[in-house]
C-alpha cells in the first residue's frame, strides 16, 4: 500500500507519459479511481433517470451560449449591479494580478489568517503559495481540499479534490498531521476535521471563496456546496473575497435553477446540494452577521483569448461539474494528478493549453481515444472531442494559430508521413498495388510493431485485399449468371 506522504511530489503536464506510467503501475491509485468513478457514474445515471435529460442539456447549453454571446455586456452589468449592492469589483488580467489584488485586500486588513472555501480558480493561480510568501496563512476548509493541503498535494479532481485517497490513507493523514485517532470510521474523521476547522473559521481575518454562477441582472454570487464550509467562509470572517473566472457570469436569476439542477446531478448525482448560497451584499446596517466587506475578483487568465475564437469559445460554457472526468476512461485509469494541471481530464485537456500553452501541454489533447463519453455527458453540451481534435490541429500547425504554442508538435517526419498517406490514398492504382504487395509480403511482416505489440499481437495483412476479393466475387457472379442463362 502506498504511504500517503510519499506522494509529496510535483506533477507537470510535460511529464504526462511518465506520470501515467507511474499511476498505471500503482494498484491503490487504480482501485481508488475506478471505484470512485464507477460510483459517480451510477449516481448520475440514477438521478437523471426520471428527467428529460436531453431537453435539460439543451436548455443548459443555450443558457451558457446566450451568456457567452453577451459576455462583455453581462460583465459590465455584473460589475454595476455588484457595486450597487456594495460589492467591490476587481479585474485581473492573469493569476498573478489576481493574487496581488487579493493580497492587497488582505494586507489592508492586516490579515494573518485566511480561511478558504473551495475555488479551482484560486488553485489555477496558486493563491495559497502567493499568500504564504506574504506571511498570510491560507487554510482550506472544504474537507477534500483540507486533506489535500494537509498532505501537501493538489486536488486530483475538480469536485472531489481528495478522490485519489481511500479511507485508510485519509485516516493516516489526519493522524500524522493533526493527531486524530487512527480509525476507519468516517464519522469520527469528519467530526475531528470539523472541530479543527471550526476554530479556524472563528479566527480567520478573511474568507476566500469561488463562485459557481455570477448573476448579472441582480449582482448576486451563487455558491454551491455540501459541507457548510462555503457559508462559513463567506459569512463569518469580516471580509469575504470571491474569486472567479470571467466566464462564470449568467444573465438572469432565472438562468440559475436549470444550471444548478444540471450541475448537482452531473457532478455528484444529487438532486440538490446541502447548501446553496446567494451572496448579494456585505452586512447591511441593522444586520447581525455577514462580512463588512465583500470583494469580487474577476480573472481573465487567457479566457478572453479563447473568447475570440468562435469554435474554442465553447470551452467557456463549462460549469465545472466534473462529469467529463468521471466518465473518461483515460482519467479513470491515470487519475487526476497525472495530467499535471489544475483542471485534469477532458475539460482540462481543452482548457489548460490556453492557460499554459501547447508547449507545456502538448500531450494532453492526444490523451484521449475520442470515445466521446465526455461530450455525451457534458451538461452544457460542450463538443469536447471536437475541441480535442481542434487542439491537435493547433499543435501540428494546421489550425488558426491562435492558441499559445501552436505548431509546437509539427515535425518534418510526421508531416512527411501524413503527406505520404495523402499521396497513397489519393492514387487508387498505387493504393491497390500497395494492398496487393502487403498481402504478398505477409510472411515478412515484423511480429513486433513498436508499442502496439507490447500488449497485442500484430495484425497480419490479408493475402488478398478487399479490392481484389470483390473483383473475384463479381467475376464469379458474372460466371454464375452466364451459366444460369
Amino acid at each position: 500500500m502506498s504511504s500517503a506522504h510519499e506522494s509529496v511530489q510535483t506533477f507537470t503536464p510535460r511529464e504526462f507519459h511518465r506520470q501515467a506510467h507511474d499511476a498505471l503501475g500503482n494498484p491503490q491509485i487504480r482501485a481508488n479511481f475506478r471505484r470512485a468513478m464507477d460510483g459517480l457514474m451510477a449516481k448520475r445515471r440514477d438521478v437523471f433517470s426520471d428527467w428529460d435529460l436531453e431537453t435539460l442539456r439543451e436548455l443548459g447549453a443555450n443558457i451558457r451560449l446566450r451568456a457567452l454571446a453577451k459576455l462583455p455586456d453581462l460583465l459590465e452589468r455584473l460589475e454595476a449591479n455588484c457595486q450597487a449592492n456594495g460589492i467591490q469589483v476587481h479585474w485581473a488580467e492573469n493569476g498573478d494580478e489576481a493574487c496581488r489584488i487579493i493580497r492587497g485586500i488582505c494586507e489592508r486588513h492586516e490579515a494573518k489568517a485566511v480561511i478558504k472555501g473551495k475555488s479551482m480558480v484560486s488553485e489555477e493561480m496558486h493563491l495559497n503559495a502567493h499568500l504564504e510568501e506574504a506571511g498570510i496563512e491560507a487554510l482550506e476548509s472544504d474537507l477534500g481540499e483540507y486533506l489535500v493541503q494537509l498532505n501537501e498535494q493538489t486536488p486530483s479532481h475538480i469536485i472531489m479534490p481528495a478522490i485519489h485517497l481511500n479511507t485508510d490513507e485519509i485516516s493516516k493523514i489526519l493522524h500524522d498531521r493533526t493527531g486524530t485517532e487512527r480509525t476507519r470510521d468516517v464519522d469520527i474523521m469528519t467530526a475531528a476535521a470539523r472541530a479543527q476547522l471550526r476554530e479556524r473559521f472563528m479566527a480567520a481575518d478573511v474568507g476566500i471563496s469561488g463562485v459557481n454562477f455570477a448573476v448579472a441582472e441582480t449582482g448576486t454570487l451563487c455558491l454551491v456546496e455540501n459541507e457548510g464550509n462555503g457559508r462559513m467562509t463567506t459569512a463569518v470572517p469580516p471580509v469575504h473575497i470571491a474569486v472567479t473566472g470571467i466566464e462564470k457570469v449568467v444573465e438572469q436569476l432565472r438562468d440559475v435553477p436549470p444550471l444548478y439542477a444540471l450541475l448537482t446531478r452531473s457532478a455528484t448525482g444529487q438532486h440538490v446540494t446541502t447548501y446553496f448560497n446567494m451572496i448579494s451584499s456585505p452586512r447591511k446596517s441593522g444586520e447581525h452577521d455577514g462580512p463588512q466587506e465583500v470583494h469580487l475578483v474577476l480573472v481573465d487568465s487567457g479566457r478572453s483569448n479563447i473568447y475570440q475564437d468562435d469554435e474554442l469559445l465553447d470551452t467557456l460554457r463549462c460549469i465545472r461539474c466534473g462529469a467529463c472526468m468521471n466518465h473518461c476512461p483515460v482519467y479513470t485509469r491515470v487519475g487526476g494528478h497525472t495530467y499535471g494541471t489544475t483542471y485534469p481530464g477532458p475539460i482540462g485537456s481543452i482548457l489548460m493549453p490556453h492557460m499554459m500553452g501547447l508547449e507545456e501541454t502538448k500531450d494532453l489533447p492526444t490523451a484521449s481515444s475520442l470515445c466521446g463519453a465526455c461530450g455525451e455527458v457534458c451538461p452544457v453540451k460542450i463538443p469536447i472531442p471536437d475541441l480535442l481534435v481542434r487542439l491537435r490541429r493547433e499543435s501540428v500547425g494546421e489550425g488558426r494559430g491562435n492558441v499559445p504554442g501552436a505548431g509546437v508538435k509539427r515535425t518534418k517526419t510526421e508531416v512527411a508521413a501524413w503527406k505520404g498517406f495523402q499521396w497513397l490514398a489519393t492514387h487508387p492504382a498505387a493504393w491497390r498495388s500497395g494492398m496487393a504487395l502487403a498481402g504478398k509480403l505477409q510472411a515478412l511482416m515484423p511480429s513486433r510493431l513498436g508499442p502496439w505489440t507490447e500488449y497485442r499481437t500484430a495484425p497480419k495483412p490479408a493475402k488478398v485485399s478487399l479490392h481484389a476479393l470483390v473483383k473475384r466475387h463479381q467475376a464469379n457472379k458474372a460466371d454464375e449468371n452466364e451459366e444460369t442463362r
Partner: protein, 251 residues
C-alpha cells in the same frame, strides 16, 4: 447526440465503402457484408478507386491531408444510392465530419449530400433491410463490443445487439461496462500505448468474465485491438466482425 434519421425503403442498389482496415486486414468481413446485402436482393456497387476515409489524418490534426483524401472519396458515389460502411468509426467520419471538413469550401454541398447517404452496416441491415436471419449455427453465447463511434457519434448502440437477437441460437452475454472504450482510438493506441493497454486489458477481462468464447464487433479497429490482446495472452476467445458472424451462421 444524433438527430432523428428517417430511413428510406430498401433500395435496388447500394455502394459499399469497405474501409482501409478491412481492405488490408479483414477483407472477408467486407465480402461478407456484400453477401448479406446481396441476399436481400440489393446490388452492391464497390468503387475500385476507394481508399481510406481520411480519419487517421483527421484525428491527428492533419486536416489538409484528411481533406485531400476525403475529397477523392466524395467523387466515387455519383449515383444517389445509399453508401453502406461496415464500420461506425469510418461511418461517423463520413456522416459527421465530412460536412465539417468541407464547410466553406466548394465541396461543401457535395460533402453534405454524401454524408446524408452514409449508413453503418448494422444500421442499414436493421432499419432499411429489416433483415431476417435464419440462424443455422450451434447454440452459443457471444459478447458484443459496439464501437464508441457507432454508439455515440452515430447513435447506434442498439443495432448490433438487435441483429444478434434475431439469431435463434445465439445468446448475447451481458458485459460489465459495455459502453466503455476498448482503448483503440486510432493513433491513440500508439501515442499513449500504456494507457491504451490498460483499457484493452480491462475490456478483455470484462469479455472473458462473461464466459463467452467469442465476441463480435462492427468495427475492425476495436477487433484488431481486443482480439490482438486476447491472442497475445493465448486466450481462446476469438473475435469476429459482425458481418462475418452473421453470414457464417446463416449461409
Amino acid at each position: 447526440m444524433t438527430s432523428v434519421k428517417l430511413y428510406p425503403p430498401k433500395p435496388e442498389k447500394v455502394y459499399l465503402f469497405g474501409t482501409c482496415l478491412i481492405d488490408l486486414f479483414y477483407p472477408q468481413a467486407g465480402l461478407d457484408a456484400i453477401r448479406l446485402l446481396e441476399r436481400e436482393g440489393i446490388e452492391v456497387l464497390y468503387p475500385q478507386d476507394q481508399t481510406c476515409c481520411g480519419q487517421p489524418a483527421y484525428t491527428s490534426g492533419y486536416h489538409d491531408e484528411a481533406r485531400a483524401v476525403a475529397a477523392a472519396q466524395l467523387d466515387l458515389f455519383s449515383e444517389p444510392w445509399p453508401i453502406v460502411v461496415p464500420s461506425g468509426s469510418c461511418g461517423g467520419m463520413m456522416r459527421i465530419h465530412y460536412p465539417q471538413l468541407f464547410a466553406g469550401t466548394d465541396r461543401e454541398t457535395l460533402a453534405g449530400e454524401v454524408a446524408g447517404r452514409i449508413y453503418e452496416l448494422t444500421e442499414f441491415l436493421v432499419h432499411v433491410c429489416h433483415l431476417r436471419l435464419e440462424d443455422q449455427g450451434p447454440s452459443e453465447r457471444v459478447a458484443m463490443h459496439t464501437s464508441c463511434s457507432a454508439r455515440r457519434e452515430m447513435g447506434l448502440a442498439e443495432t448490433g445487439p438487435a441483429l444478434l437477437a434475431r439469431m435463434g441460437q445465439v445468446e448475447l452475454a451481458e458485459q460489465a461496462r459495455a459502453a466503455e472504450c476498448c482503448g483503440f482510438g486510432g493513433t491513440f493506441a500508439v501515442r499513449h500505448p500504456e494507457v491504451s493497454a490498460a483499457m484493452v486489458e480491462d475490456k478483455t477481462q470484462a469479455i472473458a468474465a462473461t464466459g463467452a468464447t467469442r465476441f463480435v464487433t462492427s468495427d475492425c479497429g476495436c477487433l484488431m485491438n481486443i482480439a490482438g490482446r486476447f491472442e497475445q495472452q493465448d486466450k481462446a476467445i476469438k473475435g469476429e466482425h459482425i458481418a462475418s458472424y452473421l453470414w457464417r451462421r446463416t449461409s
